[in-house]
């Protein structure tokens, strides 16, 4: 295990010219309620961590003499929580602005202030051949920074790990599985190629692709072109005399590195459409969004496609027109969306949880609590936040459960994770202990829903 982690991160470390930090100390949590997730809950369990990995877990296991012992009385120990679709770790400065600078074709037009001479019109995108809005060469692993301010608030909410993605554009780039701790960017990255994030951000008549069907046609053509590019490169490598030299194409280079595809699908129609569309790429794919998946659980199961569930449940918008009566379908979706996790669990569809759209990391668990109130088993909720996320991204050998040999990522709660009054006591990341940030003082005038820490999205 250790070797695998090393080989993956070594490149980054070497590139950054850094030395490995001193190995974390030898720690044990003794006598806690341990949710192993892969096995039974241990009522008086001990978790032993050494050199960033879990060395042993069990009831009544021997603890060596030199180990720092944490008394687990009153503590629940979970595998480190994973945000399965996130932007945590990518500072905003390295987000849209940097990407816009990278994107010569079809960058979004800057707003024109009155009185200012408008910039010259941008050249028209001719079609797929101009590769508009495709940033497939962008990698979250290259953008993450341990200094990102979201990391601490995520840790304070019990998260140790995130699968973080660039979000700019239609094909926004490759996500990375990162630990929310570490001295350097390189330390953080567990897998630099978690999947290619795609959106359906069409831009109307202004630029291709301007519609949902345009987005779909564009993606098809890109995949055709990538396969063709690969063939042409191989032919040229074999015989550069008779075969033409294919023009270097960064969008296709990035596309060819895709091992997993993330497709958006929230409503029932979108989910059914994405299930048909996804198979065209002959690449494993995952749907994200999934609010109406309660109605399509059987289809998802049949297709064997996992869901990254967005837990910002659809609700009546604040300050919405009181005279406006929503459609029956809207009302049904609002009513039923929180039942989706239970429906997916019952149908055996693998699903994980995303923080997308929520104000603060701590809102993720709160939102999932709503699903528990309408029938989701807490064990299934925990699994979605841990092992299922690891499985979906092919990381279950290293993450997601409390087992010997796995990365020592733990979330330690004083009380039960889904109890409103419970507090995050500490988290361990690569065996290193982090304490939650002190809570912001209660504001003088109580206003519900205000985040304790300000987190920019």
């Amino acid at each position: 295990m250790n070797k695998r982690l090393f080989s993956l991160t070594l490149g980054f470390i070497a590139a950054a010219g850094l030395v490995l930090a001193a190995p974390p100390s030898h720690v044990a949590i003794r006598g806690a309620r341990v949710f192993t997730v892969s096995g039974p809950v241990l009522e008086h369990g001990t978790v032993l961590m050494k050199d960033g990995l879990i060395e042993a877990v069990g009831e009544g296991i021997a603890i060596p003499a030199d180990v720092t012992i944490i008394d687990g009385a009153g503590l629940n120990v979970y595998p480190g929580l994973i945000d399965a679709l996130s932007t945590w770790g990518i500072p905003e400065a390295a987000g849209p602005a940097t990407l816009a600078a990278l994107a010569t074709p079809a960058a979004p037009a800057a707003p024109v202030t009155p009185g200012q001479t408008p910039p010259p019109p941008q050249p028209r995108v001719r079609g797929p051949e101009d590769r508009p809005n495709a940033f497939t060469w962008v990698k979250a692993a290259d953008l993450v920074k341990p200094s990102d301010k979201q990391i601490e608030s995520a840790r304070s909410a019990g998260f140790t790990t995130a699968v973080t993605f660039p979000k700019q554009g239609l094909l926004a780039g490759h996500g990375a599985v990162i630990n929310l701790g570490g001295e350097t960017s390189g330390d953080m990255v567990l897998d630099p190629s978690a999947g290619l994030y795609t959106s359906q951000a069409a831009r109307g008549f202004a630029s291709f692709p301007g519609s949902l069907m345009g987005v779909m046609a564009y993606m098809r053509q890109l995949w055709i072109d990538a396969a063709y590019y690969k063939l042409a490169k191989e032919a040229y490598a074999k015989d550069p005399v008779t075969n033409p030299r294919p023009a270097y194409d960064r969008a296709l280079e990035g596309l060819l590195e895709t091992h997993r595809l993330l497709l958006p699908a929230t409503s029932r129609v979108q989910i059914e459409r994405a299930l048909r569309f996804g198979v065209e790429f002959k690449t494993p794919f995952v749907l994200y969004g999934g609010h109406a998946a309660y109605a399509t659980a059987d289809e998802l199961k049949k297709a064997g496609v996992p869901v990254i569930l967005n837990v910002k449940w659809p609700a009546k918008e604040k300050d919405s027109d009181p005279e406006e009566i929503p459609s029956m379908r809207t009302l049904q979706l609002r009513d039923k969306a929180p039942t989706t996790p239970a429906a997916l669990a019952a149908a055996g569809v693998p699903f994980a949880i995303s923080s997308e759209g929520l104000d603060a990391p701590k809102d993720v668990v709160k939102a999932l609590k709503k699903s528990i109130d309408v029938g989701l088993k807490p064990a299934d909720a925990i699994r979605a936040l841990t092992l299922s996320a690891a499985e979906i991204y092919g990381m279950a050998g290293r993450l997601g459960s409390i087992e010997k040999g796995k990365i020592a990522n733990l979330t330690v709660i004083k009380g039960d994770l889904f109890d409103d009054k419970a507090k995050v006591s500490m988290v361990f990341i690569d065996g290193k202990k982090y304490l939650p940030a002190p809570e912001a003082p209660t504001p003088p005038r109580p206003s519900s829903g205000a985040p304790a820490t300000e987190v920019g999205q």
Binding site: A206, S211, G214, T296, A297, L331
Partner: protein
């Protein structure tokens, strides 16, 4: 799960779930006035077995175990076919480019669009869902049956011939002015900006398509000779145009003015392909002979015009003139969003009896067998004949009267609309909606924290002086 989506009665839902795969109970629609469209009108019965019409006549054999529906005093017509609509789609225009033949309406079908149900309630059973008219060569259309409750694939009429949308005149050249994009930003104009340019775009696209076609033919020939070489790059934009050139894909061309109609017919003749239908074609009456000579069909409106400059020189006799000149003619709705004109195409057809003196059968043909021919599906639908798919509409009165109402609609022998059942279900649906609204209100109240003051978050939206 599936049943929750079907808004028809539970009994109908069961039949619908059964689908075409399993044997259906035979149905006999008895003692009705049957407008076959292709074989005149008779008093008698229609027998439906396994989704197909098996017998039509004054006297029929009732199959064992058949469900007999008494249709005394009622009228039955073949399901209405709307040759031009944009309903049940999640996007309509890929207007960013002048040739968007790479996009397909089939990708963006929205089977939950209530317009499908509206169409059913108006007797429309089949529609040609087309790309919009924002560009000279648009996307690929899809023919849908209004099988309300099915998923996107379940709506597609797989027997229909593939097609593509073209557009002439004002709409495709509108982007040529540039500068002002409705979506904001400073935008370079999109070629073309004139009618001449529209012609040029079509010519250029087909010139490119011919080169592409030739490249593939050359590749196939050389490969057949045993040469090892790289195939040409597959181009999703040009593939459908090659299909047009090879007669495998129908062209449905949006047009208004006589001059642009003639232009398109000339270009098509020059490149060696056919225009299947001229859509809207409001000035078609001026060039009916030329349209007939090319062999194109026409799909127009009854008496709707004047909504833009190119739509002014129109007459309500258009459909009748084209019909009399021997042009295969239909009427369409051009609906967007909710079903509108497509919910009353029968009365649109009726108008052609007043304007132009078409017979009842000729009028009905404009919305049944003629559009079926235009879409290449007349072997399956468009008339009441043994062997055709049982797409049938029962009206309480003569369907060409504006006082008539649709009572029941069958598609593939399955009842998808029942007026009585719809009316009976309204109270239950209203109660269900009220229940959900009340539940939401209760949750909102429960979420209000005791310390919340009026005007704070979570209180009723009317407080806080918003209305002042």
């Amino acid at each position: 799960m599936k049943a929750a989506r079907i808004l028809l009665t539970a009994a109908v839902a069961c039949v619908a779930l059964c689908g075409m795969a399993c044997a259906q109970q035979a149905i006999v629609l008895q003692n009705a006035t049957i407008h076959t469209v292709t074989n005149g009108t008779l008093k008698g019965s229609v027998v439906i077995q396994n989704g197909l019409i098996t017998e039509v006549g004054a006297q029929v054999l009732t199959p064992a175990g058949a469900k007999v529906i008494d249709a005394s005093g009622k009228h039955i017509i073949p399901g209405i076919i709307d040759c031009h609509t944009h309903i049940a789609l999640d996007s309509i225009n890929e207007g960013s480019v002048s040739v968007s033949s790479m996009v397909a309406m089939r990708d963006v079908i929205n089977p939950e669009s209530v317009a499908i149900y509206h169409d059913l309630a108006g007797g429309t059973t089949t529609v040609n869902a087309l790309h919009g008219s924002a560009n000279a060569i648009g996307g690929l259309n899809v023919v849908l049956k209004m099988r309300w409750g099915k998923d996107a694939d379940g709506l597609v009429m797989k027997e229909a011939k593939p097609g593509i949308k073209f557009a002439l005149g004002e709409n495709p050249k509108r982007q040529g002015q540039g500068g002002q994009s409705p979506f904001g930003g400073n935008l370079a104009p999109r070629y073309p900006g004139t009618r001449m340019g529209v012609e040029d775009v079509i010519r250029e696209a087909f010139t490119e398509a011919k080169q592409y076609q030739a490249a593939w033919k050359d590749y196939e020939a050389r490969r057949a000779k045993g040469e090892s070489l790289l195939a040409p790059r597959k181009d999703l934009k040009l593939e459908p145009l090659v299909e047009v050139l090879e007669g495998k894909r129908l062209v449905h061309a949006h047009c208004y003015r006589a001059d642009e109609i003639l232009m398109l017919l000339r270009v098509a003749d020059e490149f060696g392909f056919k225009i299947a239908t001229l859509q809207h074609v409001l000035e078609g009456y001026k060039v009916a002979n030329e349209i007939k000579a090319h062999g194109a069909g026409a799909s127009t409106f009854s008496d709707w015009w004047g909504y833009k400059i190119e739509a002014y020189d129109a007459i309500p006799y258009n459909a009748a003139v084209l019909t009399r000149k021997g042009v295969l003619t239909s009427l369409n709705s051009d609906d967007v969003g909710n079903g509108d004109l497509s919910t009353r195409l029968n009365t649109e057809a009726g108008k052609t009896m007043k304007y132009g003196g078409l017979s009842e059968d000729e009028a009905l043909a404009l919305i049944t067998i003629n559009p079926a021919k235009q879409l290449g599906i007349d072997r399956y639908v468009g008339s009441i004949e043994a062997g055709k798919q049982a797409d049938l509409v029962i009206y309480d009165k003569d369907p060409l009267s504006m006082y008539s109402k649709v009572e029941r609609v069958f598609i593939d022998g399955i009842q998808y609309f029942d007026r009585e059942a719809d009316v009976a279900a309204r109270a239950r649906k209203d109660a269900e909606k009220k229940g959900l609204l009340e539940k939401e209100k209760a949750t909102e109240k429960a979420n209000e924290k005791p310390g919340d003051k009026p005007g704070g978050k979570g209180t009723a939206p009317r407080t806080g002086g918003r209305d002042e």
